[in-house]
Symmetry: C2
Subunit: 313 residues, 2 copies
């Protein structure tokens, strides 16, 4: 398999795939960013055409690991040099990637992916073959997905130590707006509110501020790429949050109470802590209605830990 873009996520995929015994090579635009990678035994380089030609020769799975703004130019190259290969990606939004794939005529062999893991660090130097261990890896189940490509993408996720959650692109984007992109916007807001209090406020800050602003330490470029690539869904969720906070503000100012907000927030956090996954064991990719069945199971909290063989037709 061939990983294009060797930052934190792409680099970790390459390292995890190699450790799982896969034949895997990677491409990165900047040589500096992956300095030392070949010396430590990884098959990496800066020649995109060479990486793709090799992928085409072997029919290898191509993993797009670049940030959203660079996806189009990578797809240009794939369409030219490896148009028939199975393709996935590890970009944090899915509808926009799927649309770009469609514009390039590559949808038939594309199944999107999104490993829900990361750190505040970025780049190959922060890559870690254990990054995806026990994480959730979203694998797309959009209409028209090829069951064979789906198996390949899901296998990669399982090889990296993750469990697979089958989700349609639009649903994925709306969900991650809630649990990944909104947290970033709130962290950036909280950081500003703290810093506006000067050295006194920053000096008094303890655990709640430290944890609440942690992801504001992430690279601004990556946070922007992630949030702006999901602008529509994120705007909707931000409106929801603004409504909740505005109502809380009124209750606090008028009645000196935070009852509504705190009661609902505590119940929500409890629901999160009590959330339990279940294993999806009865759906084989390629079976009649498999996409709808996986979508519905994923929506209810199901995960795939083992890929079922197709039922005899």
């Amino acid at each position: 398999m061939c990983v294009l873009g060797l930052g934190l996520i792409g680099g970790s995929v390459l390292q995890a795939a190699v450790r799982a015994g896969r034949d895997a090579w990677g491409y990165n635009r900047s040589a500096d960013a992956i300095a030392g990678s070949t010396e430590t035994g990884y098959d990496t380089g800066t020649d995109l055409v060479a990486a793709l030609t090799r992928a085409a020769d072997r029919g290898a799975l191509i993993v797009i690991g670049v940030p959203m703004p660079a996806v189009d130019s990578i797809l240009d190259a794939i369409a030219q040099y490896a148009p028939n290969n199975p393709i996935t990606d590890v970009v944090s939004v899915k509808a926009e990637v799927a649309a770009a794939v469609a514009r390039h005529g590559l949808s038939a062999r594309y199944v999107g992916g999104h490993p829900m893991a990361g750190t505040n660090e970025s780049g190959w130097r922060a890559a870690d073959p254990d990054l995806f261990r026990d994480a959730v890896w979203v694998v797309g189940v959009d209409d028209g997905a090829d069951p064979d490509v789906w198996r390949q993408v899901a296998s990669l996720a399982l090889d990296c130590g993750s469990v697979v959650v089958p989700v349609e692109s639009g649903e994925h984007d709306r969900a991650v707006a809630r649990i990944s992109h909104l947290p970033h916007l709130l962290a950036e807001t909280l950081a500003q509110a703290g810093a506006s209090g000067g050295p006194l406020a920053l000096g008094l800050a303890a655990g709640s501020f430290r944890d609440g602003t942690r992801v504001a330490a992430s690279s601004p470029t990556l946070v922007r790429a992630m949030c702006e690539g999901n602008a529509d869904a994120l705007t909707d969720v931000l409106d929801e949050a603004l409504e909740v906070l505005t109502r809380a503000r009124e209750e606090l100012a008028a009645a000196r109470s935070t009852d509504t907000l705190v009661t609902a927030g505590h119940a929500a956090r409890t629901a999160y802590e009590n959330h339990e996954r279940f294993d999806i064991t009865d759906i084989a990719p390629g079976d009649d209605g498999w996409l709808e069945a996986l979508r519905s199971a994923g929506r209810a909290g199901g995960v795939v830990r083992q890929i079922r063989s197709a039922s005899p037709g």
Copy 2:
């Protein structure tokens, strides 16, 4: 010294004080909540009058460790049974406690305190003599503070392993609204936004959601007491946050950009990470202008690690 209220904070103060070699005893209204405390060697009981009479006999420092809503009734008892004792508190707001102390005619021997430490747990069972190690402990420097009481309160903080930040009550409340109370409101909001996405969103949630909602797991009663006791300052800071988020919403919807928010948020988090304390070494409680000098040093990021002897008059 005498600790009134043996929950997480009061209980930890008692334990830390005993370990520091102090003669310390505690009172708690509920016997169940402190079950086992005497068996493990702590001098605790449920007789408030006995605890206060003993404090009055020995001139002991009284530490008010109950939540804000119970402060008034504790002050009633202090005014009756130990009206001349030095008093401090570990409540998370300061202006409202100072006002209650004044209403009870106890201001002359009161110096407020607030250790900036906690966990999501509550109650004596969660108390820990190490809770305050390397934490910041605010000690009040309001007009009229008695230098002798100030020394006693600051010594307690140092004995518990903390550094002392001298802050006036109103300034304290405005600062903690930013770095302690707003984080709770944002966490409660984020938790709701996540749970509104159902099992799919909760199942995809990873580090940013987990950390961003951590404090929403705290006891709703304690979160409410803390936030509602600081309603005015918190309303102002919430308005600031709403303005920042509303502008971010407009930029996201109109220009699909999060530039302003993310750039400022990252800079603010960096300022927090780079924040450096300095030691206040040249101000002795009781010297001319000591309160103004400590206030100004605390505002600039200064901490007291050792209490200076008063200059010879």
